[in-house]
Amino acid sequence: MSHYCLVVDLDRCFGCHACEVACKNENGIALGEYWNRVIQVGPHGTFPDLEQYWLPVQCQQCEDAPCVHVCPTGASYRDADGKVLVDKEKCIGCKYCMMACPYGVRSWNAAEKAVEKCTLCGHLTAAGEQPACVASCCASARFYGDLDDPESDVSKAIAAADASSVHSLKDVGNKPATRYILSKKIATWHDVDEISPASDSADPAWFAKEA
């Protein structure tokens, strides 16, 4: 089966947030709601020997997707291509999938009262275009494609990277597909359950900006 996902090269990503704005524009996402966010990890270390990277996060296209598993109505489903998607028409709003997502990267659409998330811009890829976040990515850090196809952008990006530089968000059995490339020369990879907002503020502007 094909396995479409995003791969992000964190050696390149410089935290400009273009992917985030492109995603909101493309998908008409309301203020305060997100399908894609960029998290700053760091700086860590001792001044002035600091490390920092940016972690863009969105649906990780898990192989064993807990959201699909817990969804009572099949609103969260895997399509013929293997992409994890949400059929908002079927969503009853129980939010179990949001609880079940290990990374909290599902989004509650307050207007439609339904759960939604990154669709890998299927409407664009179907027309031969790149997802909006990939197309806009100013650092050329984002790749989209089928992990099972060695000729895809994602496979090539992973193949080009040193194996020790390829990471995924902490796998708790869900097998996230998205890969992050981060080499030691830029920064040490931190598991996603180790990074937490430094700010006491619950405001999204401050989320996950670590001190």
């Binding site: 997100y34 966010r37 998290i39 996060v57 807990p66 598993h69 817990v70 969804c71 009572p72 109505t73 099949g74 609103a75 028409e89 079927k90 969503c91 009853i92 709003g93 129980c94 939010k95 179990y96 949001m98 609880m99 079940a100 997502c101 290990p102 990374y103 909290g104 990267v105 599902r106 989004s107 509650w108 009262k113 339904a114 968000l169 902490k170 708790v172 059995g173 869900n174 996603v192 359950d193 990074i195 907002p197 619950a202 999204p204 989320f207 996950a208």
Partner: protein, 281 residues
């Protein structure tokens, strides 16, 4: 995470209903309070339905609930099936009781219903076991769900028993009735259930890691109201049979509060692997 009150009430009430019906089933065999069977079963089915409705308020599109039929592995589906089975069993039991049908059939239906009741109280918690939330992902959580509603169900049963007895023969008669009933197994059960509830609450909460004042407050409430109070009531009852109604009712309310507090702990302490959007669910 925000406390999901719909789900808290849903699991607490349906659990209470389930354990209340367990008592009804047990009494089919012990036969200590036959007059209470019908009203207790009625209370059970009413509470179960109210609890079920509470869960619906959690949904933003209950109109689409039939879609759940298409996906029989989800926790919601299992809960829906179990609550449906419980309600059916209780309803059949009531019908059998009303029609004076054979004891065997009644006992069988009561046992099956009781099993569904116990299962429901457990499975309502089992739904939250997910790898995304490490401190939910332990069998201690559903065990706590089961244990915290047991005293509430038993106390509810005793409340009905007391109410029915009092109603049937006046105040004095009530006392006598209570005394003569040899209710001993039920207060003992309440005592034991109280102890187990407190243990269950502590076991889960300690494993989950209560981190702040709110969680510790809820923990104290769950242990005292949900465990200590029923336990003490269970111990006092044999000595003060005249206070059956008061003690049972107080235990019931406290145990329910305790069960609710326990469920709240779960929401308060939950930490996902990561909450990268900082979404308030």
């Amino acid at each position: 995470m925000e406390i999901q009150w719909s789900l808290v009430l849903f699991t607490a009430l349906t659990g209470l209903a389930g354990w209340l019906f367990v008592c009804v089933a047990v009494d089919e065999f012990l036969g200590r309070a036959k007059k209470a069977s019908f009203p207790a079963a009625v209370v059970s089915i009413v509470v179960a339905i109210v609890g079920g409705l509470a869960s619906v308020t959690h949904l933003s599109h209950p109109d689409r609930i039939m879609g759940a039929l298409s996906h029989p592995t989800s926790g919601i589906f299992v809960e829906a099936v179990l609550i449906g089975c419980l309600i059916v069993c209780v309803a059949v039991y009531l019908v059998l009781l009303k029609r004076g049908a054979g004891v065997g059939a009644r006992k069988a239906v009561a046992v099956v219903g009781a099993v569904f009741g116990v299962l429901l109280s457990f499975m309502a918690g089992e739904s939250y076991l997910m790898s995304a939330r490490p401190n939910w992902n332990t069998q201690l959580l559903p065990l706590g769900y089961l244990l915290t509603v047991a005293p509430a169900g038993i106390a509810a049963y005793l409340t009905v028993v007391a109410a029915v007895a009092g109603k049937g023969a006046g105040e004095a008669a009530g006392k006598d009735a209570a005394a003569s009933l040899e209710l001993k197994p039920y207060p003992m059960a309440l005592l034991v259930a109280g102890v187990l509830s407190a243990v269950g609450v502590l076991a889960y909460t300690l494993s989950a890691g209560a981190s702040d004042g709110a969680a510790f407050g809820l923990l104290a409430l769950a242990v005292i109201a949900g465990g200590v109070v029923p336990c003490v009531a269970g111990a006092l009852l044999p000595k003060k049979p005249e206070s059956l109604l008061a003690l049972a009712a107080a235990s019931c309310v406290c145990a329910l509060v305790g069960a609710i507090a326990y469920r709240c702990i779960m929401w308060v302490v939950t930490v996902p692997v990561a909450d990268l959007f900082m979404t308030v669910i």
